[in-house]
């Protein structure tokens, strides 16, 4: 152990703030990247699953038109 006590370890002879800022940002960014990547795989899979289910439903029912249109006469003057 290079330090006498825990407080000396935190203070690092005045260099503590720099060292701990670096390690803090490193941990936050790396962990953030890892968690975000994992979340993205999950959301991608869920989006694909919804797509498949929608397709399966579409095949069961006969295709109905999504909207119908009626002609409306509008006077132009």
């Amino acid at each position: 152990m290079a330090f006498e006590s825990l407080s000396a370890f935190i203070a690092m002879e005045g260099h503590g703030p720099y060292v701990w800022t670096c390690y803090g940002v490193f941990v936050v960014l790396l962990a953030g990247l890892m968690l975000w990547s994992q979340r993205r795989r999950r959301t991608t899979m869920e989006a694909c699953r919804r797509n498949y289910e929608r397709e399966a439903q579409g095949q069961q029912r006969t295709a109905r038109p999504a909207a119908t249109f009626t002609r409306v006469e509008v006077s132009q003057d």
Binding site: F3, F9, M12, Y18, C22, Y23, M34, C48
Partner: protein, 247 residues
């Protein structure tokens, strides 16, 4: 040999291998990184010149090292994409570029914070920091180009050309930035190069470099899997895979 090469190009085969490999990569990587960092922070001796601020080295050097080698890996993958049109290679480039960007940013940030107690200012236009900054721009360009092109195939090939042009330029940039640096501020104090580093310092450094490599491997596998699912969602095996998770 050829069969292996073909298999390697198959996204399905890769997906399976990655799933089996990833827990190991994560466990080994986290263990090595943690060991290196704890050793470096608490047990390595103090540097006689810089005091305790040198302990930033145990994350600065791994991130800087990896940021550069990720770009080289991307360049190799770019050659594979352009020559053999292997799907996995361009999945790799796309998946890994943001990781490279984050690592480069971390190297820059830790370098700048390290500079404060060592040089007395947050930023010095030092050769290493400046070429790191340019590497950050290169990563930014790759990601921006990839986002801008809608068609998957052309995006892959255009990005490959850009990565290759960048990798040809990296040595030239490094050399010219070093030359420029000596021109403007002769012989500054170097951050990392030590004539002789005691084993209590370089062993934890080596551990954390290796650990970050494994973590990078895990990230690359995970992000490549995501990209593969997205691209191959019209295939049978991805459908089975996705639906298998749910009743």
């Amino acid at each position: 040999m050829w069969q292996f090469f073909h298999k390697l190009g198959s996204p399905k085969w890769f997906y399976g291998i990655a799933t089996r490999l990833m827990p190991w990569l994560l466990v080994v990587g986290a263990a090595l990184l943690l060991a290196g960092v704890v050793w470096g922070l608490a047990f390595a001796p103090k540097d006689y010149l810089q005091g305790n601020s040198y302990r930033i080295i145990f994350i600065h050097v791994p991130t800087a090292f990896l940021a550069q080698s990720v770009y080289i890996m991307m360049a190799v993958a770019a050659v594979v994409t352009l020559v053999w049109r292997m799907k996995l290679a361009d999945v790799f480039v796309k998946a890994v570029a943001p990781v490279g960007l984050v690592l480069t940013f971390l190297a820059l940030f830790t370098g700048a914070v390290w500079g404060k107690p060592t040089w007395g200012t947050w930023w010095i236009w030092d050769a290493r920091l400046t070429s790191m900054l340019i590497l950050l721009f290169l990563y930014g360009g790759v990601i921006a180009l990839d986002r801008a092109i809608n068609d998957e195939k052309s995006a892959a090939r255009a990005v490959s050309v850009l990565v290759l042009v960048g990798v040809v330029n990296i040595p030239i940039i490094k050399y010219s930035v070093e030359w420029w640096n000596t021109l403007h501020q002769p012989a500054t104090f170097k951050l990392t190069e030590k004539p002789s580093m005691p084993a209590e310092m370089w062993v934890p450094l080596l551990l954390s470099v290796l650990g970050l490599y494994f973590i990078f491997g895990w990230l690359a596998c995970l992000r490549m899997q995501t990209e593969i699912i997205f691209r191959e969602q019209r295939t049978r095996w991805v459908k089975d895979l996705v639906m298998a998770g749910r009743p």
